[in-house]
Structures are given as structure tokens and as C-alpha cells.
Subunit: 290 residues, 4 copies
Amino acid sequence: MKIGFIGVGIMGSAMAANLLKAGHQLTIWNRSAEKCEALLALGASLAESPAAVARNSEIVCAMMADPLAVSSVRDGEQGIIAGLAPGQGYIDLSTIDAATSRETARLARQRGALFLEAPVAGSRKPAEDGALTIMAAGDKALYDQALPLLEAMGKKILFLGEVGSAARMKLANNLVMAGMLTALAEGMALASGSGLDLSQLLEVLDSGALSNPMFRLKGSAMAAQAGFPAAFPLKHMQKDLRLALQLAEELKQPLFATATVNELYKQALANGLGDSDFAAISSVVSSKRP
Amino acid sequence: MKIGFIGVGIMGSAMAANLLKAGHQLTIWNRSAEKCEALLALGASLAESPAAVARNSEIVCAMMADPLAVSSVRDGEQGIIAGLAPGQGYIDLSTIDAATSRETARLARQRGALFLEAPVAGSRKPAEDGALTIMAAGDKALYDQALPLLEAMGKKILFLGEVGSAARMKLANNLVMAGMLTALAEGMALASGSGLDLSQLLEVLDSGALSNPMFRLKGSAMAAQAGFPAAFPLKHMQKDLRLALQLAEELKQPLFATATVNELYKQALANGLGDSDFAAISSVVSSKRP
Amino acid sequence: MKIGFIGVGIMGSAMAANLLKAGHQLTIWNRSAEKCEALLALGASLAESPAAVARNSEIVCAMMADPLAVSSVRDGEQGIIAGLAPGQGYIDLSTIDAATSRETARLARQRGALFLEAPVAGSRKPAEDGALTIMAAGDKALYDQALPLLEAMGKKILFLGEVGSAARMKLANNLVMAGMLTALAEGMALASGSGLDLSQLLEVLDSGALSNPMFRLKGSAMAAQAGFPAAFPLKHMQKDLRLALQLAEELKQPLFATATVNELYKQALANGLGDSDFAAISSVVSSKRP
Amino acid sequence: MKIGFIGVGIMGSAMAANLLKAGHQLTIWNRSAEKCEALLALGASLAESPAAVARNSEIVCAMMADPLAVSSVRDGEQGIIAGLAPGQGYIDLSTIDAATSRETARLARQRGALFLEAPVAGSRKPAEDGALTIMAAGDKALYDQALPLLEAMGKKILFLGEVGSAARMKLANNLVMAGMLTALAEGMALASGSGLDLSQLLEVLDSGALSNPMFRLKGSAMAAQAGFPAAFPLKHMQKDLRLALQLAEELKQPLFATATVNELYKQALANGLGDSDFAAISSVVSSKRP
């Protein structure tokens, strides 16, 4: 299939590479052109604008960092919408709020195109391995058509119904992720202050019902309080917490623990950790500030 | 070996049964005598007091709910200490604070006995399956002697050094457990309020880096908001949170998220959920009060 | 002066009445026309739209509940902006976010008009007594011209500089107010659970450095847990907390206590207390739910 | 009257001085003898132990920092109890938990003495001015006898019933105090981050229903983020928060906001601010760490 891919950062480039590997013809665009080079070397073509990508593709995918970035590649004369023709498909893989997603759906459908929001769970490694979880919602016909693409990028694919549902599911997932990692960070701070060996704590946690891949993946770096290269940048996790709390406000749903976790992530931003991995929250939680 | 076992509630009875299965000779005592019947049927003998248990055993184990219960079977003329002779072993499997544990060690050593604190991670099912994680600390000689017993009850056994270390490790573990489950409960509340299917949320969570046995075990009951028979009673989890926060105060270690989680568990107690499973926290988190 | 006044709810009607008392000629408009009757009886005139109010006034004031309500009377053919002529003044007395206020300033200035944001501190009683605190920001010339009006409504008037500053000052004020009242509510819950006499607690609090009019005003109703007719509706306080937390997110400023207070206010909304006075937070804080 | 006074720190020395001024004969003792000098110069006598103070007095007062310090001057051969004779009075002015206070009452009554717990509200300045609020509970006969003493130290004196009631009332008062000051600190952090003038914020807060002496007293130092000489040491406020939260746990009363405020105070301790005034919490709240 002729596929467009816009936004080739950490996640997007790994996902796009899996589409190339699956034999699809890929046209790409990125705000910073130099991030496109690796994919061009793998056989992708470069277009001069999001609109141009859309004009060259049956289905155009976008993987952006936040709602503002989504609208920056979507709107205007050079935007994706401007390049869409009736019957084409637009799949937004970004993790954003439901309102932005619904607006994109509205604009795409005005052009006669189909739309799917399809945020993913998983960071760099699962993205590279084609092992993401993909939560899709929107036009079922496009979902059916795009399933081979989604399966090239993820191993667990769910269709969740109307536009907005996948955005919300993703927020619920990330809220749980942030809560779990903060719990680990606080457990480590308590253990460390008590003179315990953090590798033994990780061993205990991994031996029973709490055992999970994330703790295995992040635990050692958190124990060492050093080296948090971003698999999932902390500022994006804080953005997701903000969106989750905004949604909860609309629903009149108190989220006491998540609201507190969000303040810890804000403290991490204030401490200059926005571009570190979200596991850097452990350096905020520990009272031993270097 | 001749083993004593005091405290045969949900956890203790399952652990004692595994000692019987491993071929050990068991003398038991419990405050409510009727809880002893199943073990007596399996071949255990009943003693008339904790002191009598101790007099009949090479190693005496206790599995109590909290520090007060520990001292109630430990102290006085009928208590374990009164029945201890030089060279005997006393293993306290309860999850309690380090100070109580150190006091028990001091009393046991005054009698010439050896002491091990050995709190366990895992609830009813792992207890039945002999698959607990056991964190031991205290006299290494007793640890070496008792290893076959511990291996009959658990599959992961760690020796952590001086008395107090295992108590603290257990608190760190349970702090993480409470934080994870509260994160799940808040994620569910957000998803449910958004009209999402909670079984799909559980599927998403189980598909990636967050996948863990506890979510699989507790998730469905939490989604249904019904039926929380106690595998691990909520009031015991709140007690562990209280002990963890007390330890953190001594260490001047702020634990913002855990402090908030503790307030949610206190709300659950106020709502009469102390004897339900700790997963009943989900009914407090949800704003939809029936 | 010929003054327009749009939005005559609890606060607006009391403020408008003070303008009438001060001898100004008043044209009014309200979405629900029946709320205008008392002012019409005092001599005000009714206009058919916000635009019509603006056309009949030298200075037009608006006192709305939230940003959405502000734009509903500001925009469109029937909106205030449409009725503004060069040289006229537009004073927005609503408590809203800085962004909305800046947008109003931009629109007013496009028409050649002057703009002042002027949120007020104080609820029904100070509004009736002309004893509000008014925080003004925007066009200094309009401030100088409008000072007699402001002094008819308030006893403490500050000029804070550029548009947005007063909106932010108001949010800081209300954040402190919510925090203080929540502290009182939690102190009462602790005292009440301890079997103490809450009137003695209020006497203690009023005897020293904490003594303040709000505790005197709200304390008895909170002690009685009954009767919270809205002087300042709880839902508006929660809106202000939300705006304060949004601002804090932009500033990367953690506000741990305020975030928790906001969740309590959200719980109050979930409990159906949005239209009660914000002192009804005490019924959420107390664990004794009737 | 012949009065004994034990514990002459910041508060105790000011209170004892007022007893001297009122014409009472004073015998004193303090762990650090050098703190006694000013009072000796005013005419007090020095005793060699708390027991000796008790033997020389009709009524012996103690003003200690925490439960541990209370028992250190109360117990043992050199302790107050050892020096008490039937009919004497023992007044503990310390802010401590109800359990410690009840234990003191039990010990005093065993000796045939009367007991009053009488924690005070107010810091250095009201202590010097004899303007404290004193919450008394215990033996009413001793209260009646001691009223002239209490009136020499305070201007608002309440009798609250059985021992424990005054301890709890004091905790409720201090919980409110900590919550109010944290609310001010967070309001200031928001205002400061927004570029507002903090002296204008203080002016706004002081103009309406929130106006209180504590904000006037502490506000300027908090705005300047500099100079927090201890009127009420932060570590004592954190101790009171800990005791309040312990009491709330016994009562199954969630205190979400107070639990969060306590974590902020713990962070302040971790930052080395324990001996600063409790208003130093503002330097923890602000995200701008120097």
C-alpha cells in the first residue's frame, strides 16, 4: 500500500520502519528534516509538506507529541486535511485528548475521507519490535482496511468504537503506568532510606503478583538514580496526566492519587527533567537531593 | 522436624498445611480454637497455649495480623517467650514494624534462643501453593537451619541481614502493591466514567509493559465492583501503609503519593470495608456511590 | 454616568444596585430575564441584548460565572463587542482565566474601546455592602475614569498593570480561600471525631493568630453540617481551583496541597453539592456520611 | 503561690516570666542550664532536678517540646512524679498526644496529686504578652485553683473536660494553622510565578474575609523567602501534624489535605529546615529552588 507517515521521532521512526519492512511504499515528512534520514536510507521518500504526503498516499499516518503538534500538521494549506481526497484514510497515532481527535475526524470527513484515532501503548523497544498495543476508534471501514498496517506496528490491536474512545483508553492506560512507576519510586525511596539493597527490593517485587516488565525495564536505572535517556519523555507523561485529569474534571471523577502523582511530575519538569525518561520521577521522589 | 505454628488464619493455615505436607510434625495454637480444626484433621496436634507450643517444638513459627497480636502471643506466662529454651528457634512471619520485631529478637535472645523475622509477600493462593516470597532477617544460623521449612512455604527466599531489614522490605513491597492497585482503581474509574469497556482496559493493560499477575487476579472483581472476599484484608493493607509512613517519618522521607493512597484506604475503613479484600479500594475511588 | 451591567446573579445584582444607589443611570441585561426585576424596580432599564446594553452606555460592565459565559455575552451580533464604539469602556468583573481576558481586551481594542479586567474578592454580603476588594488591570485611562464606579462597589481597589494580572491575582486569592476553608473542615472533622465541642474549636481558632472573618461567617454552618445556601457556589470555587491549577501547570509550579483540595471539591460536585455554598466542602471531608 | 516551671525554651521562658511578673514565687529547671539565666536574673530560683522543683512548689508546670521530652522530665528518680506529694498540682502545658497526657494523669493521681493538661495556642509574641489561648482539661479543682496562673499567661482560657480533650483540641487548632499557612505559601508561589507583586497579594488577602493576624505576621518573610527565625519551630509543627494524623487514623477519619501538608513539612525537614520557623514551608512550596 502507498502509506504516508508524518512525525518520525523516537516512536514514529520505529513504527514507520516496520511499515517499510512489511513491504509498504512510504512517503514521509517531519518538521526537523534531519530526523528523516534513516528512513530515507531504508527506502522511504520525502515529501515537502504534510499536504504533499497526503496527496501521495492511500492512507496517511501521523505520530505527534501533543494536541498542538497534531493541529500544526493537520491544518492550513500545507496540512494533511488540505491534501486529502474522498475515500482516503487518515490515521492519527498520537496520544491526545478526545476533543482534538473529534475535530480531526470532523475535518477529515468534510473532505470525504475516513478517520481513525489509534494511540499506541508501549515505548521505543516495543515500537522497534512491532509489539505495540494499538487502540483504534473511528471509521470501522478504515480499521478493516488498515489492519495489516496496524499489525505491522503492533501485536495487540483493539477496535473501541467511536472517535474519542481510544484517546480516553490511552489516557487511562498511562495514568496507571504513571501511578505504578511512582509507587515503585516511593517504595525505593523508603527502602533506600532504610539501608536496604535496592536490587533485593526489585527481586522481591519481581517474585510475586506485582511482577511486570516495566519494573524490570526501569528498576535498575531508578535504583542507580542515573542515566534516564528518554524512551518515553517525562514531559509527555505529564501531558497525559494533565489530559487524564482534565477528562476526570469533566466527568466529576475525583482522582486523588493521580492528582498527587501529577504534582510530582510537575516538580520533575520544574527540576529540568522534562526531556529525561519518565522514570526520572524517582529522583524527585527521593528526599536525598544531590 | 518438630515445628510449632501459632496463628492459623487465612495465611497461617495454608502455610502450616504445607509444613505438614513436607513431613514435619506440627503443634499449633490459635486464639479462636475452631480455626484449628482443618489442620488437626491433617495431623497437627493442638497445644493449650503459645508457651506450650514452644515447649513442644524445635522451631516455633508465628503468623499474626499486627504488632499487638504479635505481643499477645509472645508475652506473659502463656506466651512463646516463656516456653523457649536455649538453642530453640523463633520465626515471626507476621508483617509488622521493625521496632516490635527487634523487641521480639531481644526477648528471644535473652532466653538463649535464636530469632528470625520472616514476613511473606503473597496472599491466599501463593500461600496454598507454597509459592510465597519470604524475606528473612536475624540469626543466620537459624536461617540455615530453617531453610527447608521456608522452602516448603515459599519459592523465593531472601536473607536480608539484621532484624528489622525484612520488616522494612515487606513494608516497601506492600507500599508498591497498594500504589499499583490504587492506580488501577483510578484508571478504571476514569475509563468507566468515559463509557469504556473495563474488560478492554484490562486487556490493554495486560498486553504490554504493565502486565502483572495482581491486575489479572483482582481486575475483574474491581470492574464488577462486587464481591471482595478477603484474600488480603483491606485493614491489614492500611496497617502496612501506616507503618510504612511511620518509617518514612523517621527517615524524613516524603511519600506524597503513598500518603494520599493511605487516606483512600482510611476512607475505605470508614466506609466499613476493613474486612473486605484490599481490592475493595476501587469502590472508594469511584465517584459513583451506589 | 450611563452604565451598562450584564449578568445580574447573586453578585451582579448586589453590585449593580450599589451603582444605582451611587446615582448612575443603569441599563441591564441577563440571560434569565426574571432576575432583572428587582433592579428594574430600583430604576434600571432593560435592554434586549448585550449589544444593546453596550450601545446605551459609556461604560459596560459584565459579571459572569465562567469563561464560557463571558464569551456568550461578548461575541456574536448580539454581543457586547458588536455594540462597542470607539472610546467606550468595557469592564469585565468575572473571575476567569487570563487567556480569555486577554482575548476580550484584544476584541474591545479592535473596536477602539478601552478594557479593564476587574475580578472581585468577597461574596454576597460584601457585594451588598459595597465592601468588595476589586483587582483591576488593563487600560489605565479607563481605570481612572471608572474609579468612582469601582468605589461604589468595593472598598479596596488595586490597579495591577497589564490585562491578565488581575485574573491571576484573583485565582491566587481564591486558592488561599479554598485551602483555608478545607483546613477548617479537616480540623473540625478531627475535633468532631474526638468528641470535642465544635463551638469551642471555633472559639479557640478565633482567639489568636488564625482569627478571620470567613471562619466566623462559615464556621457555625459547617459545625452543624446543615444549610449551605450559596453565597459563593461550590462549583464556582472548583472552577477557580481548576483555573489556578492550569496556570500552575503553565508555570511548572507544583501545588500539592491545592491539587488535593481540588479533588475534594470535585468529590463535592460528584456528591451533588455544586450549587451549595463552597463551605459544604465540610460534608465531604467528614467521614461520617449520613 | 509557689510555682515550679520546667522547660524554659522560647515559649516556656516567656510564660514563666509572666508568672514572675504576676508576683508568683518561681522555681525552675531546664535541661540546658544556660537557658535559665534570664529568669534567674528576674528572681526565679534554680532547682537541681525536676523532682526538686516539684518538692518546692504548690503547682508545677512543664512546657516541653514533644512526648519524649515530657516523659524525660516526668519519670525516674529525678522526675516530677517522684517529687509530687498528695494535693499538689501538675500542669503540663506541652502540645502532645492524648495517650501520653493520660499516662501523666494516671501517674500524678497515683501520688495523690491533681493533673491538668493545658496546651497553649500562640507563639513567642503572645507568650511574651500573656496573650496565649490556653486549653485546659483534667481535674476541675486544679483548674479553679490555677486559673490566676493561667490568666497570667493567657487571655483566652477554656476548660474542656477530661484529660485528652485539650491535647486533641490543640492538634485540631495546629492542623488548621498548618493548612492555612500552606495555602498562603501555595498562593504566593502561584502569584510569584505569574510575575505578580506579593505585597499586593498580601494586601488583597488582608482586605476581606481571609484577613488574619498570622498572614500579616508571616507574610512578608514568606514573600522575601529569607529569614525564618523560629517563633514556632517547623519540626514542632510537623510533630503536631504527625500526632493529628495518628489521631485521625484511630478515628478512621481521612484527612486528605492535611496528609499532603504533612508531606510538605516532611520535605522541609529533609531540606534541613526543622529549626526554622514553620513559615519556612514557603521555601519548599516554591518550585524556584535557589
